[in-house]
């Protein structure tokens, strides 16, 4: 039996197929989780946002008119659920530090040779810096960058997901990148590796203004 398409699964769900929505959501769950995690900044809130989005999609499936792909619609519902939570909780982006310590090693391992601990450590630190900087952005800018630069969606798709004009997506991405460039030191002209700020140059020794002291003398 051939695999049902996203549209077929969603239609089956609306028609009363009890298993269809679960199959559909499971198909896209990992990518939705990645978006929720990066948008929310920590796993607990991401799980809440993803669940909100799932419930909303389950209940509002009948309103899907097919203007966009089902996966785009799912992303839209989940991202909106996440943004609603961020707005409701008034979470300051600067406080929403990445809390995905458990998964930090995976991408580093995929991107760098695993037999070089030094490179792994550098990549791990670089990733931490990026996520920390990302978390400091306004939620809408962060969502746009997560979808465009992290997940690789086109600007047109992201405009559909975020329900805004393509120009708005470009503007949010542009401003977000400028902010990240500042935070990550990309704008420094002498920057060899923009993600590795390294140690600051050592300060010069402070000269003493007193004459050199002699050796201690025994008390008399």
């Amino acid at each position: 039996m051939s695999e049902r398409s996203d549209d077929e699964l969603l239609s089956a769900h609306v028609a009363g197929d009890a298993d269809a929505f679960g199959e559909l959501f499971a198909r896209h769950r990992d990518r939705l989780w990645a978006v929720a995690l990066r948008t929310m900044g920590n796993p607990e809130d991401a799980a809440d946002g993803l669940q909100d989005g799932m419930v909303a999609a389950f209940r509002r499936a009948g309103s899907f008119r097919g203007e966009a792909a089902v996966t785009t619609w799912l992303h839209r519902v989940v991202v909106n659920a996440c943004l609603d939570r961020l707005r409701a909780a008034k979470v300051r982006a600067a406080d929403a530090l990445p809390d995905d310590l458990d998964d930090r090693g995976s991408l580093v391992a995929a991107a760098t040779p695993v037999d070089d601990p030094a490179e792994v450590a550098v990549a791990d630190e670089r990733r931490h810096l990026v996520l920390t900087a990302l978390a400091s952005l306004p939620a809408e800018q962060r969502a746009a960058l997560v979808l465009v630069d992290m997940e690789g969606y086109s600007v047109a798709e992201v405009a559909q997901i975020l329900d805004c004009a393509e120009g708005t997506v470009k503007s949010r991405c542009s401003r977000g990148r400028v902010r990240l460039a500042t935070l990550l030191g990309v704008l420094r002209p002498d920057r060899a590796d923009p993600a590795d700020p390294g140690n600051p140059p050592a300060a010069e020794d402070v000269p003493t203004t007193s004459p050199p002291r002699g050796p201690p003398r025994p008390a008399t």
Binding site: D30, Q51, F58, A88, A89, D100, V178, A181, V186, L187
Partner: protein
């Protein structure tokens, strides 16, 4: 002030850094289990019988404020209209009355606006809790049989949890009484007995940071929460 422009190389550097920070691991098992449990609830046949009583709290205050507002408005109208009907020697008394009523109206209007502002989420979906969660609820639903706060998957957990916690008398604020509902989890926190979609459950409440509380709802005997939310104080 305009934002500085990035050179193509700088922009590509930022984009490369973001690509490198992409999350590529699958959804954690405990999150999958939680989503599956929630989905099972959604697909299960629902008992929508009215097994709850509604205790109007803010709604009652709102009606009272509205009644006062209407009465004040009527008096203001009377205060404006009366001088035109009365002979000239009655003018001063009527003006005094109008001024007094107008002050009262201003107070009532302020209260009414404040309460109206508590419920901007009344028509929103379950995924859009927009109100300040610990600002007090519009109404507390209690289970008819047990008298426990009644939570529903149909509404915003954020609001319902805030209402349930806000309804606890101060003496209960430190209790850890799950009323016989065993939840085999080691997560610390205060346990508040509730019902969730008609089933006995417990709200596990713990402080995660100053001004932030984590609320997770566990059905009795369940190891995973069916729903959770982070509440913030305004």
């Amino acid at each position: 002030m305009t934002d500085p422009e990035l050179t193509p190389a700088q922009e590509e550097s930022v984009r490369a850094l973001l690509r490198g920070a992409r999350h590529t691991e699958p959804t954690p098992e405990h999150v999958v289990a939680r989503l599956d449990a929630r989905l099972a609830e959604l697909t299960a046949p629902r008992d929508d019988s009215p097994a709850a009583t509604v205790v109007p709290l803010a709604a009652r205050r709102r009606r009272r404020a509205a009644s006062l507002l209407v009465a004040a408005a009527a008096l203001v109208a009377g205060g404006v209209a009366l001088p035109q009907l009365l002979p000239p020697d009655g003018f001063d008394a009527a003006t005094d009355t109008g001024g007094t009523v107008a002050e009262g109206q201003a107070d009532d209007s302020g209260e009414g606006n404040s309460e109206a502002g508590e419920d901007p989420h009344a028509t929103s979906g379950e995924a859009a809790p927009r109100e300040s969660p610990l600002s007090g609820g519009a109404q507390l639903r209690t289970d008819k049989d047990s008298g426990l706060p009644r939570l529903s998957s149909d509404g915003s957990l954020e609001r319902q949890a805030a209402e349930a916690l806000g309804s606890l008398p101060p003496a209960d604020a430190t209790t850890d009484n799950a009323a016989g509902c065993v939840v085999p989890t080691t997560v610390p926190g205060r346990r508040v007995p509730v019902t969730y979609d008609g089933a006995r459950a417990v709200m596990l409440v713990r402080d995660v940071s100053p001004g932030r509380q984590r609320v997770a709802v566990y059905l009795c005997g369940a190891t995973l929460p069916v729903d959770s939310v982070t509440l913030t104080r305004p």
